[in-house]
């Protein structure tokens, strides 16, 4: 790739980065400009990709067929595929007050296909998780309390050691099951819960949920930092050091 082009591309990236981070100071036109550039590019790219990578290959080319080459006939057109066009276009009638009912036809077809898959999909997704939630609560071995190091053991012995439920694992499982049940009890909205014990248990569930959300929030913050660090690497090392100072352009 032309090095001047690479440098210009990187400089544009730096300008976009600075422009978008300028919102940290305050809302400004520089930020707005780059925000609109970003959205415009993303939307434009998506439209082209939708046509060239999906509709053309998956619908139009099959619809019209091809003449073939070197004296061989190409695939015939599947002209019935043209019926998909009005069905798809019906979706846009959602913008018309008078004819909005027509948009329900494609939505209904999509929902029907989607619903048909849901029983199997639900089970594939949640079945193994439900199965994994059933855990042994009592230890099979009381001493030692923790699983011993199996390094150096024969595979058969290591396997036998690993199959035991040690006290530490049993405690972990008890915490897991209590958390699961407490959080589930928090979502009992279908009827009024009068029992003080269950209400207390669901309050515990709320606190446990908060702990979980806190952990997720911590991960989110770390990810945002990682993104900032990468942007700083791009600006200082990739652009400034490797291109501007090293005069690679």
């Amino acid at each position: 790739m032309n090095e001047h082009y690479a440098f210009l591309k990187m400089t544009a990236g730096v300008l976009c980065t600075v422009g978008l981070y300028s919102v940290l100071y305050r809302e400004n036109k520089f930020y707005r400009f780059f925000e609109h550039v970003f959205l415009g590019l993303a939307a434009g790219y998506a439209i082209v990709a939708l046509w060239s990578e999906n509709l053309k290959e998956g619908w139009y080319d099959l619809l019209v067929g091809s003449a073939g080459t070197n004296g061989h006939s190409g695939p015939y057109g599947h002209y019935l595929y043209v019926l998909l066009l009005p069905i798809g276009l019906m979706g846009y009638f959602v913008f018309s007050k008078k004819h909005s009912w027509m948009s329900r036809v494609p939505i209904g077809i999509v929902l029907g296909l989607w619903s048909g898959q849901q029983v199997q999909v639900w089970w594939t997704r949640y079945g193994p998780q439900i199965q994994d939630s059933i855990k042994p609560l009592l230890p099979t071995v009381w001493s030692p309390a923790m699983k011993p190091d199996t390094t150096g053991m024969t595979p058969a012995l290591a396997d036998a050691v690993s199959k035991n439920v040690y006290l530490s694992q049993a405690i972990t499982n008890v915490i897991f099951v209590i958390t699961l049940l407490a959080v589930l009890s928090y979502f009992l909205f279908s009827f009024e819960v009068k029992s003080k014990a269950i209400r207390g248990f669901s309050t515990l569930g709320r606190y446990l949920l908060m702990i979980g959300f806190g952990a997720i929030f911590g991960s989110t913050v770390m990810m945002r930092f990682a993104l900032l660090i990468d942007r700083m690497y791009y600006v200082w090392i990739e652009w400034l050091m490797n291109h501007v100072i090293a005069r690679k352009f």
Partner: protein
């Protein structure tokens, strides 16, 4: 002679407004100082050579073992649902994964179910970052069509993945790849996909994602083919349940996941290095070789120390903020 007049008295509301403005200005200044410190903390360590000790987690050990167990030269499917917006984490994951696959001469069919730009971003990484790195070491560059192929973007993730599970050849029927001379060619003519008949004939599906697109993949493909996931820190807790219930065979999460992967690429698992010593021990695990001396470390090792410094700054800010608030409250009460 004019007599001096008293200044116009300020109403209580105006006093309150002025006070609000003063507090807002002060908060803005404090925020600017914090942002400045954060930018410094995220920039300066990048110029230094810092090392943070690392011990990979069980999930990434399983991820690395699963990838290394793929037969050399086979074709894997790579769902690449990330763009430059999450390059800090996903870029490191992609580079680490591709370095391993390239050393194993694996062929890669990549596609996205989440973002139209994602396949292009992934291919740019191969062309602009990984290939020059290989060329510099005198290794064979990875070629589009022969070694990897982009199937593009599929906007209907649920329908497409269900079709892939039912009949892979039918799902990608009509897919074309534009070759160097501008001619469209059927993707199944490519050496990457020519031997792939169904989803079960693929030894591994890998997903690199910054969104919850793995849900659809797992719903439709789990149990049919081994799956490993490399996700961002945000998606980590949500994906972890799939790893715990063994619906996916391995998982790398965020920056730590990248560094774990790089560590095992260098040291292997229970595998003696060139000096005869085992660099990374994992209890009761068969040896899995690494690639000592190769370009293994990348964004993970580079960014991880900086991330620690940023986190330290965050913790300090939380402590000082709370102490400040406590003292202000105490002053107010008095």
């Amino acid at each position: 002679m004019d007599t001096p007049q008293d200044p116009t008295p300020i109403s209580a509301e105006e006093v309150q407004l002025l006070e609000v403005k003063r507090i807002e200005k002060q908060a803005h200044r404090t925020r600017m100082i914090l942002f400045g410190l954060l930018i410094l903390a995220s920039s300066l360590p990048l110029f230094l050579t810092l090392n943070v000790p690392n011990k990979p987690t069980q999930a990434t050990v399983d991820l690395y073992s699963t990838i290394m167990a793929v037969p050399d030269g086979s074709t894997i499917l790579l769902q690449t649902d990330w763009t430059t917006s999450t390059r800090g984490e996903s870029g490191g994951e992609f580079e680490g994964l591709m370095r391993v696959l390239m050393r194993k001469n694996c062929k890669v069919a990549l596609y996205s179910m989440s973002d139209a730009q994602a396949p292009k971003v992934a291919m740019d990484e191969i062309v602009l970052t990984l290939n020059p790195e290989r060329k510099l070491k005198g290794e064979r560059e990875y070629k589009a069509w022969d070694d990897y192929i982009s199937l593009g973007f599929f906007p209907n993730a649920e329908g497409e993945t269900a079709s892939m599970a039912a009949n892979l050849r039918s799902a990608w029927n009509g897919k074309k790849y534009i070759n160097d001379s501008g001619e469209p060619e059927d993707v199944f003519q490519s050496p990457v996909l020519s031997k792939v008949q169904s989803i079960t004939s693929v030894p591994l599906v890998v997903i690199i994602t910054a969104t919850s697109s793995f849900n659809v993949l797992i719903e439709r493909l789990s149990g049919k083919v081994p799956i490993v996931a490399l996700v961002t820190g945000v998606m980590g807790p949500e994906t972890n349940v799939y790893y715990s219930s063994k619906q996916i065979q391995g998982l790398a999460t965020g920056m730590k996941g990248v560094y774990d992967l790089e560590t095992m690429m260098e040291d292997g698992i229970n595998s003696p290095g060139p000096n005869g010593k085992v660099g990374f021990q994992w209890e009761n695990h068969p040896p899995v070789k690494g690639f000592p001396g190769e370009t293994n470390y990348g964004r993970g090792k580079l960014y991880f120390p900086t991330l620690h410094i940023d986190m330290a700054l965050l913790i300090l800010a939380v402590i000082f903020g709370n102490v400040g608030m406590f003292m202000a409250k105490k002053r107010g009460n008095r």
